[in-house]
């Protein structure tokens, strides 16, 4: 029985090659798209899934009120880890992870800068990163021990046995390699090539036990069966106990399972947002693309029902029952979906590298994993059932007598379910199309926003090695060599905020004001180097005004907060120092181009510095400037590589996430429309074929080719118009919500809707029109005679 059914299914596929091709290709593209998205979703929801104690690991967060708003964030005092171990009986252990370090490693003649973390020595006991060499309990116990990843140890030591080798860090201390880590999985927030014990931080004087300095991340492992609720009760009152002035400042533990996808808070409460929103949206898109492909299958199968009607009739007469026919037709669609699934797997394999580039992921298929094949099989069966169920019930319900007489079919008019399915396809395609355009408009809108400074020819370099000692020499030599037209020494790159704080004092300040200011430091010449606009006063100039080392520049937003009528000469107290304002600058974008600019204070030379900002000389080529600069850096900082960044490239990174969303939305909308058009083309072919006699008669009676073409196209056009009318408000709603998450966002313009409407109509007309014209041009003599 089964072989007979398979045989007939296969012969059906072979006999109508065109339809089979459209069906299978549509399904394959749809399945491949869904599979890619499902893989993406899988990698998102399995973040940190590999840690043995994942259900007991938490991150410490703060919840405190600023200017009347409850905020949540996850940097903590360094002292917190030891305190929770002492004060909370629920806690098994706590581990601190410092900000990513970029240490210089010296082994023999090799000099390599690499990213890694300073961590508490129990890090590998809390988190499950397998060691190839060494024991988690002991590898980080000694002060001068270091653990390397296998790839980094190979970079440093080649094929030599790394364990026991010595490596110098930052030209400062020697470390002995005590352990080798397997490569880190990609689905974790941690990214390091080495681990150094916390004692190193202490030895360079970077440790403190001050409760007011939120400067590290603290992870907490609870005891098995310990209650999170009771631990959080104690966390809530921990800060006021040690820092009584922060009486309402709460801390809480946030579970590992939520780090990646949630971690989004509004007014001190989880708002259900975060990456999970993208996961949900992508899930919906995956399902709909698959559905669109399945709809093609349903529509083409039912449109061709008269071909199968006779077979249904005969089978019923010779003894088939309805259930048997249903399973026959579902079996056929499963066969199709198996073929399509194999094609989809090939498509996925081919497109995975590109998809990974687009999504910034390293997804891969583990072909040797039986679970993968089980899932794949399940996916194929699901698709086959989804695509085959409606046609199966439709075809198997034919009355045998009517089916044999051929009075079933009524194909000239599109039957209602089929119309609805086509509308569903196009509605979805049009929604995605509108979303794509609006996402792009939003990116353009933010990109076109005035940055407030000139990014061109601007590079920066962090302080490494001897730079803090020699930066004045470097600066003057860069200027005298002609490589740079201006150089500024600052605390951070011009595209990042490294420090912010509240509690500054000034005359006339409202005592309840807890405005958080960005803090930025410069020595002098920042205005000239990046091209800031001073609306009042001037930049720092230490040679003319030596007191500028305690001077301050504020931006316009800060001026509004401080409400000075005459800001120049006003005193701002911060960090136990008095700063006098010498200038007010126009706002510029320091962090997010989507946010309104925050109030900002720029402190003078009595603060700290970590970055050189260099405006390259635009009279010389960039390559030449960089070559000269490299020579100067090598001269004054010989141990370290010349490791610069272009500011405009870094600024462009601020759009990377949105660009990715935009590209993906564009890709998926193109695929959705493509698959829909494939189906429409198939339907149009069939309609044209089945109306060939009507067309012949009309032609004999005097209809023109244009008239006939529009007659055949009109029906489809109507469907697309209905789809558009459904899609437009839905797309508007979705995009309105999306844009709300950007305070600085583009308005939704009606032109977008008009454009998509016309475009989708055009695509549909072109898809159908080809078949319509072909049918209209047919010689009527032949078509009328064939009865």
């Amino acid at each position: 029985m089964l072989t007979s059914l398979l045989k007939i299914a296969w012969r059906n596929i072979i006999r109508s090659k065109g339809f089979s091709f459209i069906n299978i290709m549509g399904l394959a593209i749809g399945m491949a798209s869904s599979m890619l998205i499902i893989m993406w979703i899988y990698s998102e929801v399995t973040y940190e899934d590999f840690h043995e104690n994942k259900d007991r690991i938490y991150e410490a967060w703060n919840r405190a009120s600023f200017s009347g708003k409850l905020q949540c964030w996850n940097t903590t005092p360094k002292i917190l880890a030891r305190t929770v171990e002492k004060d909370l009986p629920e806690v098994e252990q706590a581990v601190r992870v410092d900000w990513t370090s970029h240490f210089l490693f010296s082994v023999g003649d090799k000099r390599i800068t690499e990213a890694g973390n300073i961590v508490d020595s129990n890090f590998l006991q809390v988190f499950t990163f397998p060691l190839l060499r060494g024991e988690p309990q002991t590898v980080l116990r000694e002060h001068n021990s270091i653990v390397l990843t296998r790839s980094f140890s190979q970079t440093l030591f080649g094929n030599q046995d790394p364990v026991g080798q010595t490596v110098k860090i930052d030209n400062n201390q020697d470390f002995t390699v005590t352990g080798i880590l397997a490569e880190l999985p990609k689905n974790t927030r941690f990214e390091f090539d080495y681990l150094v014990p916390w004692s190193y931080k202490r030895s360079i004087g970077d440790d403190d036990s001050y409760w007011g300095n939120n400067s590290t991340r603290t992870y907490v492992e609870l005891k098995p069966n310990a209650s999170l609720a009771s631990a959080n009760e104690k966390m809530k009152v921990l800060k006021p106990r040690y820092q009584p002035e922060d009486s309402t400042w709460e801390m809480f533990l946030y579970p590992m399972g939520k780090w990646r996808l949630y971690s989004s808070f509004t007014d001190g409460q989880e708002d259900g947002g975060g990456r999970i929103a993208y996961v949900r949206w992508f899930g919906v898109i995956a399902l709909f693309i698959l559905l669109i492909a399945c709809i093609n299958f349903m529509n083409l199968s039912t449109a061709r029902s008269e071909r199968r009607a006779k077979e249904v009739g005969i089978r019923k007469v010779v003894g088939a029952r309805k259930q048997g026919l249903i399973s026959q037709f579902i079996g056929e669609s499963i066969l199709m979906s198996v073929i399509a699934g194999i094609l989809a797997l090939i498509l996925v394999t081919l497109s995975l590298p590109g998809f990974n580039r687009l999504t910034d992921k390293t997804l891969q298929i583990d072909y040797s994993n039986p679970y993968f094949w089980m899932l794949f099989l399940g996916f194929v069966l699901f698709t086959g059932l989804l695509a085959g169920s409606y046609p199966a019930f439709f075809l198997s319900s034919f009355q045998p007598l009517k089916a044999l007489k051929g009075v079933i079919t009524n194909v000239n008019t599109l039957v209602t379910p089929r119309k609805m399915l086509v509308i569903l396809q196009f509605t979805f395609g049009i929604i995605l199309m509108i979303c794509t355009i609006i996402v792009r408009q939003q990116i353009n809108y933010a990109q076109q926003r005035e940055t407030g400074y000139n990014k061109n020819n601007l590079i920066y370099h962090h302080f490494t090695g001897d730079i803090p000692k020699n930066y004045r020499l470097i600066k003057s030599e860069l200027l005298s060599s002609g490589a740079a037209s201006s150089v500024a020494i600052t605390s951070a790159p011009i595209t990042q905020s490294w420090s912010d704080g509240w509690g500054q004092e000034w005359e006339g300040k409202d005592p309840n004001d807890k405005t958080d200011f960005y803090r930025y430091n410069e020595e002098e010449d920042l205005g000239e180097t990046v091209g800031l606009t001073f609306v009042q006063g001037r930049d720092f100039d230490l040679s003319q005004y030596p007191t500028d080392s305690t001077a301050m520049i504020i931006n316009e937003t800060a001026l509004k907060v401080m409400k000075f009528d005459n800001p120049i000469g006003q005193i701002v107290k911060d960090n136990g120092e008095e700063w006098h304002i010498v200038g007010v600058i126009k706002d510029f974008i320091l962090t997010s181009p989507y946010q309104p600019t925050s109030p900002m204070l720029i402190y003078g030379a009595k603060s700290w510095f970590y970055t050189l900002l260099i405006k390259l000389n635009h009279d010389r080529s960039t390559a030449e400037n960089l070559k000269t600069a490299e020579g100067i850096f090598k001269k004054y900082n010989p141990e370290y590589p010349f490791d610069y960044q272009f500011v405009d490239e870094e600024y462009a990174q601020k759009f990377a996430n949105e660009k990715r969303t935009g590209t993906l939305a564009g890709l998926f909308s193109a695929l959705a429309i493509l698959i829909s058009c494939l189906g429409l083309f198939g339907l149009a072919t069939y309609m044209a074929e089945s109306r060939i006699k009507e067309i012949g008669i009309r032609k004999v009676l005097g209809a023109s080719v244009v008239g006939l073409t529009s007659l055949l196209t009109k029906d489809f056009l109507k469907l697309v118009i209905v789809s558009f009318l459904l899609a437009a408000p839905l797309a508007w709603w979705a995009m309105h919500h999306w844009l709300q998450s950007y305070p600085y966002h583009t308005p939704i313009r009606w032109e977008v809707f008009v454009m998509t409407g016309l475009l989708s109509a055009l695509i549909a007309v072109m898809t159908v029109g080809f078949q319509a014209i072909k049918a209209a041009l047919t010689n009527p003599v032949g078509s009328i005679k064939n009865e």
Binding site: M1, I8, R15, G313, I314, L401, L404
Partner: protein, 228 residues
Amino acid sequence: MPMIQLSNIERYYTTGLQKTWVLRQINLNINAGEFVTIMGPSGAGKSTLLNIIGMLDQPNNGEFLFLDEPVFQMKERHRNELHKQYMGFVFQAYHLIDDLTVYENIETPLLYRKIKKNERQSIIAELLDRFNMVAKKDLFPSQLSGGQQQIVGVARAIAAKPKLLLADEPTGNLHSTQGEVIMDLFKQLHAEGMTIIQVTHSEKYATYGSRIIFLEDGFVRNDERIGS
């Protein structure tokens, strides 16, 4: 006990407010082993009567006992079983499945009766041999002449060894030599004990049977047994 007992069978179609009568007050008994020919002008209701007997259609009034069982009072499932167990059909337009070979077409009813593979093979081999179709068993219907297709149709109809063979103008699409081949087959089957009911326009082919029922405007006008 007659195999088929029809009492007061009536069938009509309603179009709008108008009733179009197809069958009226049909009372018929057909015994096992009869070879009945239904004749009459176009539109007399011949095919409708055949389809009602074949349980493919239902009358508006009347009763139909098949082997003493009331057909239209039984559950559909039961009726399907009866249909499957006792009846074979031959159509004017052959109605072979285009995608199946001769062999596979004959096999289809056997598959729905869950007959084992080696048994199927022997039944089909026997039929192919009997109808001289062995060489054509792997051809598709489109590769056969009309007569050959109808031979396959007959072979398929009797493959599951039905008690009753229903044939709706089996020779209607065939020229005379092909038609005679089919009718000779029917005659043989009848001689072997098969009950046959055929609809035909041909006076000549009507004489192959044992009884002629003449329908006109939905009524039985004449019912005569003929010697053969």
